[in-house]
Structures are given as structure tokens and as C-alpha cells.
């Protein structure tokens, strides 16, 4: 079915008038051919080739270029990006700022990323912070939080949140634990749950108190995922299962309430998946030993059918209109 038949159909049903149909027809016949996607594809390709080529050149000639030159170059890029973002700044407000310069947002993001690269380079090459890793992480975190609120940028905010989480992890866990990739240590889990729950609460506060209302999604998404993943991990691996179960159940319910209130289908999915894992595990854990053999055969089949039914009818069940 092409545009001409659609036009004819609309005309027959009296949706549009005769003159309008002619007008649309002539517009469709004379419109220019859009090459937007092609141009953007070439631009992406160019950026990719440029960065990879630069990377290869630097890698091959590191001994003749020298580290100082590279560090100076990265610092220059970072500083000029921050300068550009600062020059194009808008007055500060607790609301979502409108009419901001798109390029300034990207240059802020690039400035933050190059700042991270600069710091990592200095630490790796010259051990600038020695073994005070927490100190090395908290500097960009503070900078990113400041920049995200001042320049109203959610991308930088999520970088800041990531920095905060890793700073907390570094402060609490001894380094041997992290290098062993053991993320199921109890102290680490509890602190991650507390941080995640704090961020969930903060997202609610920022929503109700109008403190950068549009940041609530980022806080809830990152904090909620952190808290839910860690509470499910704790449920699977540690004692005090009832506490972990209550936390994950509360998070699940909260996700679904948020999905209902704000029309965020992502949180519906998160709530359903985390809730399903926690509930199934707990059911099998509390059931007496002989039950699972009979029960497991039917449980997964019918519970997944139940979830499918829920997802097909969630609008009716949660009372979402349209």
C-alpha cells in the first residue's frame, strides 16, 4: 500500500478534502530526496576511522612522541571542551533547562571523558595518587556531579553515579577482594543495597521537591538496578534470606508502581524479572524436600504463562488508561 492509495482511501472516507488531497499529492511528487541518513553514516564512519587511526599512530610511535606530549594534548582537549561548555552555559535552574546548545552538551561529555582518560593515564604512568585509589575516583565523581547539575546533563550524571558507586566499593572492600573478582562479599553487597536504596529514595525526593525532576529517571534506573541486582545476589548466596527477600520484593513493587505512575515500561520489565527470580528462588527454598520434584515440572511452565498473561494485560491490571 503506497501513499497514493492511502490518499484515495482517505478521500473516499471524507477524512480529507479534494483540494488537500491534490496539495499533498503535489507535495509528495515534488519533495526533495533526503540524504540525512547517508550523511550521518559517513560522519560516523569518519569519526571511527579518525579515532582508530590516531590510536594506531600513537601506539606505534609512543617512544618518539613521549608521554608528556600526549598528556598535554589530552589536557588541552579536556580544558577546551570544558571552556566551550562553560562559555555556552545557561543560567542555573532546578528545572529542566530548555534551548541549550546541543554542541555544548556534547563538548561537556567529551570534556568529562577526556578528564577521566587524563587521570587514568597519569595514574597508570606516573602513579599520581599512589595507592589512594579512593581519592583518585572521588575527584572526577565530584566534578561530574557538579557539572551534571550546573549544565543540566543526564549523561554526565550517570557517569557521576557510576563513580560514586565505585568509590564506595573501593572504600569498603579491601583491594584483594576486588582484584579477586569476588563481588558476593557481604559487606560489599549490603553497602551496594544501601547506596541503591538511597538513590531510589533520592529519585523520589527530586521528583516531589522539584529538584531537577528529570534526573529522577537516571537515579531510579541506576540505583534501582544496583539495589535489585545486589539484593537478588544476596538472596542466592547468603544467610538472612528473609531480609534480602523483603528488600527485593519492596523494590519490585516500587518499580511496578513507578512504571504505572510515570508510564515507564522499562521499570515494569525490571520489576517483573527481578521479582520472578526472587519469588521462584524463595518458593523452592522454603518448600519441603520432596515437593520440588513434582512441583518444578509444572511451576516454570505455568508461572511463565502467568507472567505472559500479566504482560499482555498489564494496562488493565494496573489501571493504566490507554
Amino acid at each position: 500500500m503506497n501513499s497514493a492509495t492511502v490518499l484515495k482511501n482517505l478521500l473516499v472516507r471524507n477524512v480529507i478534502s479534494e483540494e488537500q488531497s491534490k496539495l499533498i499529492e503535489s507535495f509528495l511528487a515534488s519533495r526533495t530526496f533526503s540524504v540525512f541518513n547517508e550523511l550521518r553514516f559517513i560522519l560516523y564512519g569518519g569519526i571511527l576511522l579518525l579515532t582508530s587511526g590516531l590510536g594506531v599512530i600513537i601506539y606505534e610511535n609512543i617512544d618518539t612522541i613521549g608521554h608528556q606530549v600526549i598528556i598535554a594534548f589530552i589536557a588541552l582537549v579536556s580544558a577546551s571542551c570544558f571552556f566551550h561548555a562553560f562559555k555556552n552555559r545557561l543560567p542555573f535552574s532546578w528545572e529542566k533547562t530548555t534551548g541549550s546548545n546541543k554542541l555544548a552538551g556534547y563538548s561537556l561529555l567529551l570534556g568529562c571523558v577526556t578528564f577521566l582518560i587524563l587521570e587514568g593515564y597519569l595514574q597508570y604512568q606516573y602513579q599520581l595518587f599512589g595507592s589512594k585509589y579512593g581519592f583518585a575516583v572521588i575527584i572526577p565523581t565530584v566534578l561530574f556531579f557538579f557539572c551534571s547539575y550546573r549544565f543540566d546533563h543526564t549523561g554526565v550524571l550517570s557517569m557521576g553515579i557510576t563513580g560514586l558507586a565505585s568509590w564506595l566499593g573501593l572504600t569498603i572492600a579491601p583491594l584483594s577482594l576486588l582484584s579477586g573478582n569476588d563481588f558476593t562479599d557481604q559487606s560489599l553487597l549490603v553497602s551496594a543495597i544501601i547506596l541503591g536504596c538511597c538513590m531510589v529514595v533520592f529519585s523520589k525526593v527530586s521528583e516531589t521537591r522539584d529538584i531537577k525532576k528529570h534526573f529522577a529517571f537516571t537515579y531510579l534506573f541506576l540505583g534501582g538496578n544496583l539495589a535489585a541486582v545486589t539484593s537478588v545476589t544476596g538472596l542466592l548466596n547468603h544467610d538472612f534470606k528473609i531480609v534480602y527477600f523483603i528488600v527485593s520484593a519492596m523494590l519490585t513493587v516500587y518499580f511496578i508502581i513507578q512504571a504505572r505512575n510515570n508510564q515507564w515500561a522499562l521499570f515494569l520489565l525490571m520489576g517483573v524479572i527481578y521479582g520472578y527470580i526472587a519469588l521462584s528462588y524463595s518458593l523452592f527454598k522454603i518448600a519441603p524436600d520432596f515437593v520440588p520434584e513434582i512441583f518444578a515440572l509444572w511451576y516454570f511452565l505455568f508461572s511463565s504463562m502467568g507472567v505472559l498473561w500479566f504482560l499482555l494485560n498489564f494496562k488493565k491490571l494496573l489501571g493504566i488508561k490507554k
Binding site: 492511502v6 515500561a265 524479572i273 516454570f300 511463565s304
Partner: protein, 96 residues
């Protein structure tokens, strides 16, 4: 040939999508777009991408556990009966 879905709805969906495109180019007014939606109705279940992901995951789970359940009737210990059963189910699932 009888089809498992309503063909008129599919055509109406296409009309609605083209009308949305024209609306964004301001060729028709929002009122006309609403009129078109009433004149060419469709009632497919079209949820967002995240709900679709959830449906996919849990449908896969339900299907695989159903396959496992069916295979219990055919499977003999120390044999490869599971392979034909799973292949058969894969074919059946891909057609449904």
C-alpha cells in the same frame, strides 16, 4: 487462504502510520489524523519495546519448559531421543 491475523487491520495500521508521517510534516491537521484513526481502526496489541522483551523472555522460558515436559514421555535413558524431540519442537515453535 485463511490467515491467522486480520488483514484489514494490517492495511489500516499502514494507513495510520502514513497519516502519522503526514501529521509530523504538517500536511494534515491533528483532527484529521484522529478522524483517520476512527475511519481506519485496528486493534492489535502493540506494546512498547520493553514489554516486548519481557514477553520474549518469558515465552522462551515457557516454550523450553514445555519441550522438556513433552520430552519426558519420549526419552529413554542413555539414548539420543531428546535431539529429535527438541528439533521437532523448534520447528513447531517457529511456525506458531
Amino acid at each position: 487462504m485463511k490467515k491467522p491475523y486480520n488483514e484489514i487491520w494490517i492495511e489500516n495500521l499502514q494507513v495510520q502510520r502514513i497519516c502519522e508521517g503526514w501529521l509530523s510534516k504538517k500536511l494534515i491537521t491533528p483532527q484529521q489524523n484522529d478522524l483517520a484513526k476512527i475511519a481506519f481502526p485496528q486493534d492489535f496489541y502493540l506494546p512498547g519495546i520493553f514489554v516486548r522483551i519481557g514477553l520474549f523472555i518469558f515465552a522462551m522460558m515457557g516454550c523450553s519448559f514445555f519441550t522438556g515436559f513433552i520430552s519426558l514421555f519420549f526419552i529413554k535413558s542413555n539414548s539420543n531421543t531428546f535431539i529429535p524431540v527438541s528439533l521437532l519442537s523448534a520447528i513447531v515453535f517457529s511456525f506458531t
